[in-house]
């Protein structure tokens, strides 16, 4: 059998998937222990989307993220020390402790930010695409968005705008089939959101969001379309949360059969199995990767706990001109 992906590539993909998994799991513990406050929307179960998309991007490309943004940041190469420090409100966090979970951005890496306002990342992503087009950057902008956001005006307005202007813009719609506790069929008649893209003349794909390779391949194709034909492109990636909407939501409304089904399609296990079954790594080699990831998160938690907070004097100085 001919293997499509190198060991190195798949190992990196697996490592990133697992990093998000462990990051979320450990940070939820920190939340329960009172180290993290405010809103925290875990990306558990949806890791393959961020990882598959970002694996196809370069440093020149842009992303915008959502309220469920930790996975996007990590897949885009964020520094874990700075991420966890931010979740703890510490001074060496990405936003110096001023932003928190929903506002992590890293403009040096083209990450234009998570967002507390559902849908707000869409026009911002389109703006980044517009900037790359004006500058002839040979880059694309990707907006991670969600099924709930698709019902907000910015979605239709934005996608139409991107199409009217032929922008190198890729809308990655993470369709986890719920907006908080509202199932998608209660908030829209046509649940195949891919059709909205088609109705606007936008090349649109509906894919398995739990299959990291399918996400990766589709993103590469979307980038090709943006560069060789014309953008935008819509990718509707079907997925499911592993739990509630945020850490304080037990998610009891998620139907058990569906949850079980998606648990059985766990993106992290899927990639792990690929490493072993298709690439021939043995269990202990994979365990080595696992312990490396665990150690890295442990170290970052340690760093964040030790890190200080911005003082009120520094803060007052910072806001002087507001």
């Amino acid at each position: 059998m001919e293997l499509k992906y190198s060991k190195e590539f798949v190992t990196n993909v697996y490592k990133t998937l697992l990093t998000i998994r462990v990051f979320e799991t450990e940070c939820i513990k920190l939340y329960r222990q009172g180290f993290i406050r405010g809103y925290f929307h875990p990306y558990l179960g949806e890791e393959a989307i961020a990882v598959g998309v970002c694996a196809a991007l370069t440093d020149k490309d842009y992303i915008t993220s959502t309220h469920r943004g930790h996975g996007h940041c990590i897949a885009n190469g964020a520094n874990l020390d700075k991420m966890i420090a931010e979740l703890l409100g510490k001074k060496d966090g990405y936003c110096k402790g001023l932003g928190g979970s929903m506002h992590i951005a890293d403009t040096t890496k083209g990450n234009l930010g998570a967002n507390g306002i559902v849908g707000a990342g869409i026009p911002i992503g389109i703006g980044a695409a517009l900037a790359t087009k004006i500058r002839k950057d040979d880059a694309v902008a990707v907006t991670f968005s969600s099924d709930g956001a698709a019902n907000n005006g910015v979605f239709s307005e934005g996608l139409n705008l991107a199409a009217a202007w032929d922008l190198p813009f890729i809308m990655v719609l993470e369709n986890n089939q719920y907006a908080v506790s509202t199932p998608i069929k209660e908030s829209t008649r046509e649940v195949e959101l891919v059709k909205r893209g088609e109705s606007l003349g936008v090349k649109s794909f509906r894919i398995d969001g739990n299959n990291v390779f399918e996400v990766y391949e589709t993103t590469k194709e979307a980038i090709r379309i943006c560069k060789e034909e014309k953008g935008p492109v819509l990718i509707e990636a079907i997925t499911f949360r592993h739990g509630g909407h945020h850490v304080n939501d037990p998610g009891l409304y998620l139907p058990k059969e569906e949850l079980d089904y998606y648990m059985s399609k766990d993106p992290v296990k899927f990639a792990r199995k690929y490493l072993i079954d298709d690439l021939g790594l043995n269990e202990s080699e994979v365990e080595e990767i696992d312990s490396g990831v665990n150690k890295q998160i442990e170290d970052s938690i340690e760093f964040a706990k030790e890190n200080g907070e911005m003082s009120s004097q520094e803060f007052l100085k910072f806001i002087e001109n507001y």
Binding site: G89, L98, G148, A149, N152, Y253, Y322
Partner: protein, 331 residues
Amino acid sequence: MKEMKELMYREALNHALLEEMRSDDTVFIMGEGIAERGGSFKVTVDLLNEFGAERVIDTPISEASFTGAGVGAAIAGMKPVVEILFSDFTMLIMDQLVNQAAKFNFMTGGAGNVPMVLRTQGGVGNGLAAQHSQSLEAIFYHIPGLKLVMPSTPKDAKGLLKAAIRDKHPVIFLEHKLLYMNKGLVPDGDYTIELGKADVKKEGSDVTIIAWSNMVPRSLAAAEKLEKEGISVEVVDPRTLVPLDKETILESVRKTEHVIIVQEAIRRGGIGSDIASIIQEEVFDYLNAPIKIVAGLNTPVPFNLNLEKIVVPQEEDIISAVQDLVGVYQE
């Protein structure tokens, strides 16, 4: 006298909705996750069971459109109560509020009405950060045609919400996320509190504190401590900022001759500044000292909890403002 019952603020709001929906078939509610889930702050629990999905409507995340649908339904003879989860998200519905709801009665020469209530909640609360913590009342205050209600107690919440629903004009009903679990005595059954009537939450003779929403309990706590130092504080809660009960405010100022306005919202362009200007214009001669405004700093709200504390007035800030004012200017 009505029986009194101890209720949480959120329960009092729930009772107001329940009673108004029972007595008036044209009242209906809509918002995100308000039906089955009963709302993020549990204000609308159980309403779905009694009134069904036609009058307790879960909406998609389409704020501009479902608010606009509320405006349209109101013009067409219904009394919608529209919920926006966080006042921060009202920035998405401003056209429907400002250009449509607020102006329809005026533009039609009084022929048309928009009897809609827009319920939402604001204020800081435990690290929700810059896009979920704002106090945006000044934005609504600035728009002629919108009434603005900000209750501080369960009793006021219920009576004012019932009055707001019965009002024929659009009302912004701005709750506070830290008040939902606060308890207080609430009269059983039907009663309303007229929009435009302030309430003296505590009588006193040395200083008047004017405060609304979550700054009321905070000011009352400060007043209690100051009382022990021999400073007698009167706390006036306007309850509705539009219409504003100037007379109750001015009467208190004439009595105490010292005024502190406490507002959680940022200082610049705030309602406190407007109230201060009304006071100095109308009763300047009574003032024994400059009016002091204790307000939020001119900044977005930081995520870090210690910094969050310094950007909005705390009990200590109110106490020291009163001490300064009375200490410096009282012979």
